[in-house]
């Protein structure tokens, strides 16, 4: 006859096995949370998030390619179109860094952080 202590121990182990990945996942999300203080920070965060969330995105990707890829995967990016245009003006056109609302960029970056997967498997943004 199995003792109650043994059953409790087994249930505890089962719980740990079930909840530990969830705890790790939540910690990972926190780790990947983008905190930006300006538009450039927000796009830097998005770049990092893209590299992790879409491991098969080639190293030579451009913003246009990355956005097209996100759109084809059903990620809504329309809200950051103006921010991207302004960021490109700053980055490549030599304009001063605009004081713009970059919450949409951070939102997309954090959303990507949430579905971050390694090359080994799990959900990822398909082509």
């Amino acid at each position: 006859m199995v003792s109650n202590q043994l059953i409790l121990g087994a249930l505890l182990a089962l719980n740990i096995a079930l909840y530990l990945p969830l705890v790790f996942s939540a910690l990972r999300r926190r780790k990947h949370k983008v905190n930006a203080s300006n538009l450039a920070d927000a796009f830097n965060g998005l770049e990092m998030a893209l590299k992790e969330a879409v491991p098969d995105l080639p190293a030579g990707f451009t913003w246009e390619e990355a956005i097209a890829r996100l759109r084809s995967s059903g990620v809504k990016t329309e809200g950051m179109d103006f921010a991207l245009k302004s960021y490109e003006e700053y980055r490549y056109g030599g304009s001063p860094l605009p004081d713009l609302d970059f919450r949409e960029v951070v939102k997309v970056a954090n959303m990507l952080g949430g579905i971050t997967t390694g090359k080994s498997g799990g959900a990822s943004l398909g082509r």
Binding site: E47, A59, G60, F61, T62, W63, E65, E88, Y92, G93
Partner: protein, 311 residues
Amino acid sequence: MGAEIRDKVVAEVGKVVVGREREIDLLLMCLLARGHVLLEGVPGVSKTLLANAFSKCLGLQFKRVQFTPDILPLDIIGGFVFNMKDREFEFRRGPIFTNILLADEINRAPPKVQSALLESMQELQVTVEGHTEKLPFPFMVIATQNPLEFEGVYPLPEGQLDRFMVKVSFKYPSKEVEAGILKRNLSSIDVNDVRTVLTVGELDALVRQVEEVKVSDEVLAYLARVAEATRNEGSLVLGASPRAMVQLVHCARAKALLVGRKYVTPDDIKSVANEVLTHRLTIDRAAALKGVSRNPEAILTAILDRVEPPR
């Protein structure tokens, strides 16, 4: 202004040439960047019609020269003829003195003629027996060649291919576009239906605006990395020359202007790199034996996928 004009040109030329928007874009970019175009495609894919309609749309003078094995440099650039009335030699201009010269089947002409033409393309002037004449502004050569011909042709050597800013491959149209072409041809096609949408003054202003399009140091450094990658690529014997990279920058600037921007992004570079660079890349003939792709487009795409642009 650039984007507006681009849309007008595409719409006007599109009246007679169906489904060639990308090709029209490339011709316009090349003209604004002071380059020349090599059109490669089998007969009957509207290469000549496109060149003609494009010139008409921009209000430019257009001349066509059919290159044959017996053509002479004199037949293109002109030469001195004796004037019986004045009893002296006078320079008679050849068909090269135009805005847009269609050099049809350029690879049928012997190398002497090809080099005479290509020299004028580079210098934008003609010199015969010490007499020099400037070519009109703008001047663009649109040369065509059939990729499937091997008999009686003189393939352009690498150094001469390098003179062309872009090579546009005319592929067969898709089923939908083909249906559109057939429908368009149910009634007669007249190039005169194409309206002129630009004056020479406006064109001149656009060319100057291209020169004002900003290219950041980081984008230039990215271009240098791309050039280096093509030169270090194992499956290539010959990578992109400095002239190729200069032309890539100019073409990307024209592209930026035509979408209404005053600066070049890495997307502009990547969007024209194929047409500007692939005809200048020489594949290592042993590459196929090593199981490496012999397709320059695939090799260039792999390089661009590898080289990180500024973001």
